[in-house]
Symmetry: D2
Subunit: 134 residues, 4 copies
């Protein structure tokens, strides 16, 4: 599991007074950085080999401005060329959001999915979600 | 079905040269405005009675800066107090994104779901997705 | 002058109930699209030759969700390699925001400013702000 | 001076491969949080008494994804009811952005500027920019 602390910004709120649901994909993307580094140590966008296929996100509780949040990032499935990343936003010990993102190892030149190298699979496996957490 | 034209902005792109996946929830929210008006004609945030419970979004093709997109918005399910909104982003006649958002009719004072009034159900029903489109 | 209609999105608001000041640079960038087309007709990011040097933005009145805004875009100065773009956000006949952005014609390979070609200067000149508007 | 570390997110980039200029007002707003706390310790949006009147931002160098940035926040002027906040974005020891934001102590009920209490002026004064830095 990876853990990232995020301090919500005023611009992350909306007129209902809480954090806008539209910010969560950005927070999740930010918190996937250690996963991205498995594929490109220096995070060079010109050598990017990941494409996002899907995300689904459940909103369980309001998130408030003025209190830090913690994003937990797990690997929940490792396929041939794709992986599922399960992420949660916690605030004040309440799980406020949970979502899963499907990423595909992708060759932008060939425009097709490519297998995840064994070495990277190993790294991902070290962050597989334990059964009881899911 | 509701239809909204969106002109992608340069700030909607990311370093991969295409529209960032993180923008889609914003576009979808913008394109749900006619649905929002069923619940609050004047769109007054102080009288808001909708809460977002979930969305899942599939990314089917790249979206490019420099070409308008069309967002199609359908109602795909009407429950007691919740509704499913199915939306698609089309660009150059290609369906690039499809997603479903679950909205709940909600009383922020009482902090609980409330039934969708019959009159609004009728309005939603007029935008139910035809079987063949799904 | 160029004119662009923008329908504010719920995600553009913040917890004060109005449009967040942080959205204005995005709206202005979107409304500069016709200027961008003078430099790249097809708006291809790979052939981009503009860099933003500065903007200053004054906030004169609140902008509300639920009402369209109009962005006016003028050229206020044409230099050797730079230009000043003056933009205003109007809502319900009230000027809510006014700002000026300095753009530089720029060669990203050579990493230096380059002169604005005469043909483009002519196109910009056609949109110079009239004295009385400033 | 206040200092905040920000890890750029992939969604902060644009198609030119660097951080979008449109993100900077959000980063600056985030880094003004200690200033906001002078006016509302618990950062409660319902008791907000600040309004943004203006910002001007100069872009001096590209900001890259994959490297943390530091935002420096100074007070550069304290008026009767307004204050100027000078902020800088540094990345890899290069000053990439510098900007000044004018905030006004504001009563949203009365819809007018109100004096900055002496106690808060004292707190702001402790963060006045030293002459040599400007």
């Amino acid at each position: 599991m990876f853990t990232m602390k995020i301090t919500p910004r005023f611009c992350d709120t909306d007129a209902l007074g809480h954090i806008s649901n539209t910010m969560i994909p950005c927070w999740f993307e930010g918190a996937r950085e250690p996963i991205f580094r498995f594929f490109s140590v220096e995070l060079n966008p010109k050598k990017w080999q990941l494409i996002l296929a899907k995300y689904e996100i459940e909103f369980l509780a309001q998130i408030y401005y003025g209190h830090d949040v913690i994003v937990h990032t797990y690997v929940s499935h490792i396929g041939q060329s794709s992986m599922h990343i399960l992420q949660q936003v916690w605030q004040n010990n309440i799980k406020a959001v949970e979502g899963t993102t499907v990423l595909v190892h992708f060759d932008y030149q060939l425009n097709k999915a490519i297998p995840i190298p064994f070495m990277i699979q190993e790294k991902l496996r070290a962050h597989l979600i334990p059964e009881s957490t899911n």
